[in-house]
């Protein structure tokens, strides 16, 4: 099967600190991979390298067939990353935010409406400013802007954090939809039972390395 992610000995440096100390990871198309490990293990950095955001200092590899050192910009336009931040403009309303993200990728008004409805952001919430939203509502906003982007590889960093049970269920439902639509997902989470139920494979990250489950 075709590999969507293939990292070999990746070292990545953040402010002089080796966030990743030699990561080997393969993810095949259609897989749902759960990254688990203690805080500071390097889960976020693995996701940021896959997204083409964090430069690779040593080692190398490909994401969606593109080189992680030389083709980072091309990688970015084909992946979706939900990080610790939601990428929202806090002075804009929910609709303004999602419309803006839609306009950067040329999504249609119907696609925007569908994504907002899917994330329960139509109705009253649509005209609320982002800085008045709860943590869970902001996550839904960020997910909706990811939906309009039609990413092939979904990278989710602690998507369940700070959400109540209903919010977590919603995230899981969106993930299942994405997978059944053919997307590949790499998700980091402390919610092992919940995320484990979705995952086709669990990968353990520690000390800036993959210590278990890096390849199939």
């Amino acid at each position: 099967m075709e590999n969507v992610v293939e990292l070999r000995g990746v070292v990545a440096v953040l402010g002089g600190f080796p966030a990743l100390a030699g990561v080997d990871l393969t993810v095949a198309r259609g897989e749902v991979v759960l990254l688990q490990g203690p805080n500071g293990a390097g889960k976020t950095s693995v996701l940021r390298v896959c997204a083409g955001l964090l430069p690779v200092e040593r080692g190398g590899g490909t994401v969606l067939g593109m080189d992680v050192t030389s083709q980072r910009e091309a990688i970015r336009s084909r992946v979706g990353l939900l990080g610790h931040t939601n990428g929202l403009y806090l002075d804009l309303t929910v609709t303004q935010n999602i419309r803006f993200w839609a306009s950067t990728v040329g999504a249609t008004t119907e696609e925007v409406a569908a994504a907002m409805a899917r994330m329960g952001l139509d109705g009253r919430l649509a005209s609320v400013r982002a800085d008045r939203l709860s943590a869970g509502q902001r996550r839904r906003c960020a997910l909706a802007s990811m939906l309009v982007r039609r990413a092939e590889l979904w990278l989710l960093d602690e998507p369940h954090a700070g959400l109540d049970a209903a919010g977590r269920d919603e995230i899981d439902a969106v993930l299942r939809d994405a997978v059944s639509a053919g997307a590949t997902v790499v998700v980091s989470s402390h919610e092992l039972e919940r995320a484990g139920a979705l995952a086709s494979r669990v990968v353990t990250v520690d000390g800036g390395m993959i210590v278990d489950g890096g390849t199939r």
């Binding site: 080796p18 100390a21 203690p38 293990a41 430069p55 000390g207 210590v211």
Partner: protein, 248 residues
């Protein structure tokens, strides 16, 4: 060349020979500038400042030109070799030093000949901007991040400076030309150079150029050593980062 920790010196036989030449030239320049050459008819001994002032600004222009060339080579080269960036950075540091020397010697000279340390002359003003621009460039070099980040950011800034400097110079020229007051005479032009004075000035230019090359070789090697140390530090940091996994 990759220096080892046991042999952490920035000198080579070639640079030591060059250093000796520079020392001899400096001694000659001091003798020629302070004793052998004659006083100027108008300026007296004051003219001797010229033998430091003019070579300083010459070196500074040369250094900034080299920074621009190396930055361009880094950006356009396929290899993206960080060595270009090290030379660019070393050269800019030396350039900033020598612009400072020429500003200080120039204002002392101005005090003696014009009675004032500073005039809002076009050349002085744009030289001051040159100084500030490259101080900013050096600040950008210290923003942190990896070597490649430093190289890319600073080379772009250096190339932007190449656009900025002619614009600043041109606008300052235009600004001063509007003012009809008697422009301050160029101090160099008022000097009637006899043979020995001209020789001393040329000797100054040669000496400072050699000094620049010598400083540049050493400085870029110091930067190379710093980068090597940072790289070694990374190896150790990677090893201890890996140990975190075992410790848990």
């Amino acid at each position: 060349m990759t220096p080892t920790a046991a042999h952490a010196t920035t000198g080579t036989p070639a640079t030591r020979r060059l250093g000796a030449v520079v020392a001899v030239l400096l001694a000659l320049l001091v003798m020629s500038g302070l004793w052998w050459s004659a006083e100027d008819v108008v300026q007296g001994s004051t003219v001797r400042i010229m033998y430091v002032h003019v070579p300083s600004i010459w070196v500074a222009y040369m250094a900034f030109a080299l920074t621009a060339v190396c930055s361009g080579a880094y950006v356009s080269g396929r290899s993206r070799s960080v060595a270009w960036d090290r030379v660019a950075g070393a050269s800019a540091e030396i350039g900033v030093l020598f612009v400072a020397v020429s500003l200080v010697t120039g204002s002392l000279w101005g005090r003696l000949t014009w009675g004032t340390y500073w005039v809002w002359d076009a050349r002085l003003t744009s030289t001051a901007f040159l100084f500030i621009t490259y101080v900013g460039y050096l600040a950008v070099r210290r923003l942190g991040g990896t070597l490649r980040q430093r190289a890319r950011r600073s080379s772009v800034i250096a190339l932007l400076a190449v656009l900025e400097i002619p614009l600043v110079h041109f606008s300052v020229e235009l600004w001063r030309s509007l003012h009809q007051e008697a422009s301050v005479a160029n101090p160099n032009a008022r000097v009637e150079l006899d043979g020995l004075m001209l020789f001393t000035l040329m000797l100054g230019l040669a000496t400072f150029t050699a000094l620049f090359v010598w400083l540049l070789l050493h400085r870029q090697r110091v930067i190379l050593l710093e980068d090597t140390v940072a790289d070694r530090g990374l190896d150790e940091a990677i090893a201890s980062r890996r140990d975190e996994a075992g410790a848990r």
